[in-house]
């Protein structure tokens, strides 16, 4: 597995905001901006609509986690040994396997998705709280990667010369790191450094920050390359020349003239980097270097559940499905966004 959006998921070079699109579409409808055209296409795309709804639902679950968990009444960290009638939930003689329920998972009207073997924590509640960790870490990592990649790529492409050489070599080196291996090895190191530097205990708030940082730090290089390439061609365009001849400084040109033209690329890249980072967080937590007990995380749940795959497969199924559906929804939406922004689409 590699981190960062891979070759094929990358947006086509030269995503358009230029006049070409407008002339192509202008025959039918007058005066729509490229953004409006993309938006109209997106609204007609059923897959995009469905995946957007799924994503919104997932975000709502993450935001409303405390409320949702109140509905079933079992906090994610609470050990449940007895049900409402006072009967035991776990078979203590049999290694703590849940009693009853679908396929020995302990599903019941109280515990909708069953309970954990041994501890008896409610799986539904843990799943709901796991959404928070997943989305937050992935979002944080993505924002860091996109900001770093955009700024470094723009600076490298715009200024050229030794700055470009230096930054391009840096991108090459970043891309030749075995990234998952490195992220995995570095997460505990960064966590212990942060602990010593800022005096924060190694809790899961720190862990989440570290994961964001590490994912962002290893995710920017690929985007930077794309941005650099686009900046190289954008800076030669007339509007940049015009701005410069009117006395605009590099800051103005970069952020007011070039950045808006990069937005479609950034949008596509962000939607595709998010699921990559969601998978990466799950993988790291699964391997035991990410989020730790008692905080619920999908990757951790999968790793815990793998020991019970024979006696209680549903325990593994639920977090696995949550992860799969989330990643699929983001990928589908990302693909649709890319298609909607593609000037060549709908003309073949």
């Amino acid at each position: 597995m590699t981190l960062g959006v891979s070759e094929t998921q990358s947006p086509d070079e030269g995503l358009p905001t230029d006049a070409l699109v407008e002339t192509a579409e202008a025959k039918e409808i007058e005066g729509r901006s490229p953004g409006e055209i993309a938006w109209a296409r997106l609204r007609k795309d059923k897959i995009a609509i469905i995946s957007a709804i799924v994503i919104l639902l997932i975000i709502a679950v993450a935001l409303l986690a405390p409320l949702i968990v109140k509905l079933n009444g079992f906090p994610p960290d609470q050990f449940n040994k007895l049900n409402a009638n006072g009967d035991p939930l776990l078979n203590t003689r049999d290694g703590g396997i849940p009693i009853g329920g679908l396929w020995g998972s302990g599903t019941s009207s109280e515990h909708w998705l069953g309970i954990e073997p041994q501890n008896g924590r409610d799986i539904f509640s843990r799943l709901v709280y796991g959404t928070r960790v997943s989305l937050l870490v992935a979002l944080g990592g993505t924002v860091i990667a996109v900001v770093l990649g955009t700024v470094i790529g723009m600076v490298s492409g715009y200024f050229g010369g030794w700055v470009d050489t230096l930054l391009s070599r840096l991108m090459d080196i970043m891309l030749s790191f075995p990234s998952l291996l490195f992220v995995m090895a570095l997460t505990p190191v960064v966590a212990s450094r942060a602990q010593d530097l800022f005096g924060i205990p190694d809790n899961n708030t720190l862990r989440m920050g570290v994961l964001m940082f590490v994912l962002g730090f290893f995710g920017w290089a690929y985007l930077a390359r794309i941005v650099r390439g686009q900046t190289l061609s954008l800076r030669e365009r007339e509007f940049v020349e015009a701005a410069r001849s009117l006395g605009a400084g590099p800051n103005y040109v970069l952020f007011r003239q070039i950045l808006p033209n990069l937005l479609p690329t950034l949008l596509v890249y962000t939607t595709l980097l998010l699921p990559t980072n969601i998978t990466a967080e799950a993988a790291l937590s699964f391997l035991g270097v990410g989020i730790k007990e008692p905080t619920a995380s999908w990757g951790r749940m999968i790793s815990d559940a793998s020991a019970w795959i024979e006696s209680n497969p549903l325990y593994l199924f639920f977090p696995g499905m949550a992860l799969f559906i989330t990643v699929l929804a983001f990928n589908l939406l990302g693909d649709s966004v890319r298609d909607a922004l593609d000037p060549r689409a709908g003309r073949s």
Binding site: T8, P178, A185, S192, L287, G299, P313, G320, F324, N331
Partner: protein, 334 residues
């Protein structure tokens, strides 16, 4: 060509030195004294000083780095251990594990074959299935087969390895019992025989190959569609070549050039360890070795395996560039 190769090799060495330096300083500069990691619970000032002297932690970091690199560069390896108790660590010396004192290179050597089998088998699988699916989809563009393979590819890209791996494990090992539980830790082809070996590796191969197969399907399809619209394909058809020659000799050949690049880099990346797949199927390869080292904070082992993996990535880059020039006559190596 020869000149280009030499220049690339020098560049590669430079990149490796930078990676080794960054890795070394990141890992060894942790304020938490590595000596405390080694002597464990019965630490006192005296034992810490002793450990520091033994491992050279009392020297400046740059000196330690130089000493470390000496073990990788000089053919005689380097000496490790405290004064009066020195021993030679033969080339290539990645140091000794803090956990059990085993030379890291020996562990890497032992773990590597499993990872190699895993990566190569999966690579064959994903290359064949990806290119085939992509080709069929491109030739039947817009038809049912095309939509099916595009859908499959999207599905495959979105299936996280942890989920897919456990799904296979549950279906074929737990439920259907077609394959025994993977408890034969290190299955070498020659000791267990081909049938058991295949049984052991088939699910890991599929698990590892899925995402790549999906990506390759997409790339092949996109490239093939572009290529088949080229003028020279029309020319080939116009001069009366049969369709098979047009598709395979003229079309596929040029559509596959980008695949070579990606394939080389992907395989190179995997030779450093397929951590998740190895963890799911209890394969004692490099990935398992690296995660175990990370979890036990075994610095020399982590450092060794990261460097080892980086070597493959860097080498793969060179191989790919050279191959690319051989396949595509438009590329000139300057």
């Amino acid at each position: 060509m020869g000149r280009y190769l030499i220049r690339r090799l020098i560049q590669a060495v430079f990149v490796l030195i930078v990676i080794s330096a960054i890795t070394f300083f990141l890992f060894w500069a942790t304020p938490a004294n590595p000596a405390l990691l080694i002597c464990g619970k019965n630490c006192n000032a005296e034992t810490v000083a002793q450990v520091n002297a033994t491992y050279g932690f009392d020297k400046p970091l740059v000196v330690q780095y130089g000493h470390y690199m000496q073990g990788l560069v000089s053919p005689g390896g380097r000496t490790i251990g405290s004064e009066g108790n020195e021993r030679n660590c033969p080339w290539p010396c990645f140091g000794e594990s803090y956990q059990n004192g085993i030379p890291v290179w020996n562990s890497i050597k032992d773990a590597f074959p499993s990872t190699l089998w895993l990566a190569l088998g999966a690579a064959v699988l994903w290359l064949l299935s990806g290119v085939l699916l992509g080709l069929i989809a491109a030739l039947r563009k817009g038809k049912f087969v095309d939509k099916l393979s595009v859908g499959l590819a999207l599905f495959g890209v979105s299936f996280p390895t942890i989920v897919f791996g456990y799904l296979l494990l549950f279906l074929f090992i737990v439920k259907l019992k077609w394959i025994p539980f993977p408890d034969t830790a290190n299955a070498a082809l020659f000791s267990v025989g081909p049938v058991k070996w295949l049984q052991f590796y088939i699910l890991p191969w599929i698990t590892l190959a899925l995402v790549f197969a999906a990506l390759y399907t997409r790339i092949t399809r996109a490239n093939m569609i572009d290529t088949m619209n080229e003028d020279y394909i029309r020319t080939a058809r116009a001069k009366g070549l049969d369709e098979r020659t047009v598709v395979f000799k003229h079309g596929l050949r040029s559509a596959l050039t980008p695949i070579v690049t990606i394939f080389g880099l992907d395989v190179g990346g995997l030779l450093g360890g397929a951590v998740i797949t190895e963890q799911i199927f209890s394969i004692t390869g490099l990935g398992k070795f690296s995660i175990d080292s990370v979890l036990s904070n075994d610095l020399p082992a982590i450092m060794g395996v990261v460097l080892f993996a980086a070597i493959f990535v860097v080498l793969a880059n060179i191989v790919v560039d050279v191959l690319y020039a051989v396949i595509d006559p438009r590329v000139r190596l300057a």
